[in-house]
Symmetry: C2
Subunit: 243 residues, 2 copies
DNA sequence: TAGTGGTCTAGACCACAAG
DNA sequence: TTGTGGTCTAGACCACTAG
C-alpha cells in the first residue's frame, strides 16, 4: 500500500508513474538494477497489472527504464557524454561510438560569464569552478570545451588534481560529488573562430565552428553543469528523421 | 474478418497497425478525417478493444494519428513545410510560427547533381525538374533553396506557370500531382558561402552558412523530393532536449 | 442524450532467461 | 522448472463532444 503522496486528480497510472519516478530520482532504485516485478508492484500499489504496465510504459518511452523479457525491468543509467558528440564525422559511420580522449588545460575558481551565471542560477559575481579541456578522437583535436560548475555542489572537486579526472566527467561527478545528470538541453549555433579557438582546433581564425551549449540538470531539475563545446564546422554533420 | 494481408508471426496489435497504416497510405482514410471508432474496429478485425487501442497507440505515438476525446481518432495531415525552418532566429521566440514568403527564381528540366540523382533513385543523366527559390521572413531573405523533383511523378508540374505556385510546396504537390509527403530525413552541415549563395543571402562570400539537405518520402517510402536549403549561420539556432 | 475516447480491472496464455 | 515481461481478452465506468 503505498502511495506516499497521491494527487487524486491524476489518473491512477500517472500516480504510479510519479511514485516510480520518485524512487528513481531519490536513488532508492539504482541505475542498472531491476525494479520490483509487475506482480510485486501490483500488490504494493493495489492496482491492476494493466495499470502498472501503462505507468511503466510511459517511463520506458521516456527512456528512464528499459525492459528485458524474462529478466525484469531496469533503471537506465543516463549517459550524455555522447549526445551531440556523435555528430562529428570522426566517428565511425557504422553507428558504433568511440569514447573521445580528453586533456584538461585549466581548473580554476573564476567569475563565470553572464550566460553561465544565469543558466546555473548563480548570484552576480559568485565564483564557479571553470574547467577548460580539449577532446580528441584518434589523436586529432575535435572539440574545445569550457565547463562551469557551481562551487557549492562541487566542493569536493576543488582540491582534486586534474590528472585524476578521467575522460568522462559525468561518472566522475556521480562518484565524487553524488551528482547524477538526468536531463539536458543543448543549443547548436554557428560562429567564426576567435584566435584562441582557432589555434586550439588547428584551424584558421575566422573559420566557422559549430558551438554546442549544454545545460545539464539533476533529477530534481536543478542545473548542475553549463558547458560550451566548439568544433570545426568542416567535420560537423547532424542528421534527423521526421515522421 | 478483414485482415487483407496478415503476417501470422507478428503480434495481433502489430498486424492491426499494419492494416491501419495501409488504409492511410493508400488514401482510403484521408487526412483530417476520423477513422472508424474503436468499437467499430473491434468488430472489423475481430480482436479485443485493448488490442485495437494498443495498435492505435503506436500510430498516435508515431504522429500518424491523433485522438480527440469525445470526437474520434483522426489521420494527421503531415506538414514538413515548417521543420528546420523554425530554427532560424527570425521566427518569434514565443513558439508561434510565421509562414515564410517565397519567390521562385527558376523552373527548368535539368540534369541533377549526383547527390540529387542518387537520392531520388534516378538513372545517370536522367532529367529532373529543378526549382530555385528564395524564402523570406518579414521581407528579409532567410534561405535559398534548390529543389529537385523526378519528372515522372511531377509531369503535371512541367507546364504550370511559376506564379501559380504558392508559398508552400507540399500542399501544391498533393493537389496537382497527388503526392503526399509522409516522412523525411534532414541533414545539417555547415559550409562557406560561394558567390551565388552570398549574393542571394546578402552576405559576404566565404561567410558560414547552415546547409539543410532534405529528402522527402511518400507513404510507400519512395523518394519524392530532394531539397537543399542554405541560410546564413548568423541566424541559425537549433535547440534539443535530451532525457 | 448518444457516441466517442480515457481509464481501469482481473484474469489468461505465451516467449524468454536463468538456475 | 520458475519467474519474468509480452500479448490478449471481455468486459466496466468515466469525461468529453456534439447535436
Amino acid at each position: 500500500m503505498a502511495f506516499i503522496k497521491r494527487d487524486e486528480r491524476l489518473p491512477l497510472y500517472r500516480q504510479v508513474r510519479e511514485e516510480i519516478l520518485e524512487k528513481i530520482s531519490r536513488g532508492t532504485w539504482l541505475p542498472d538494477t531491476a525494479i520490483p516485478t509487475e506482480a510485486e508492484l501490483t500488490k504494493q500499489y493495489g492496482v491492476a497489472i494493466g495499470t502498472i504496465r501503462k505507468a511503466v510504459d510511459t517511463l520506458v518511452n521516456d527512456g528512464l527504464l528499459y525492459r528485458s523479457q524474462g529478466r525484469g525491468t531496469f533503471v537506465r543509467r543516463p549517459d550524455f557524454n555522447t549526445s551531440l558528440f556523435r555528430f562529428f564525422r570522426q566517428q565511425p559511420a557504422d553507428g558504433s561510438f568511440i569514447v573521445p580522449e580528453s586533456l584538461i588545460l585549466l581548473k580554476a575558481l573564476q567569475v563565470p560569464p553572464a550566460e553561465a551565471s544565469t543558466a546555473l542560477n548563480l548570484q552576480a559575481n559568485q565564483l564557479a569552478i571553470h574547467l577548460k579541456r580539449l577532446r580528441f578522437l584518434k589523436g586529432v583535436v575535435v572539440l574545445t570545451e569550457d565547463i562551469w560548475l557551481p562551487e557549492m555542489l562541487f566542493a569536493n572537486l576543488v582540491d582534486i588534481d586534474s590528472n585524476e579526472i578521467g575522460s568522462l566527467l559525468y561518472p566522475f561527478y556521480e562518484k565524487h560529488c553524488g551528482l547524477l545528470v538526468a536531463s539536458a538541453t543543448e543549443t547548436l549555433t554557428i560562429e567564426c573562430a576567435d584566435d584562441d579557438t582557432a589555434s586550439a582546433l588547428k584551424i584558421e581564425t575566422g573559420h566557422p565552428v559549430a558551438v554546442i551549449e549544454r545545460l545539464a540538470f539533476g533529477f530534481d531539475k536543478t542545473p548542475i553543469e553549463y558547458r560550451v563545446s566548439r568544433g570545426s564546422a568542416d567535420t560537423f554533420r547532424y542528421q534527423i528523421e521526421i515522421n
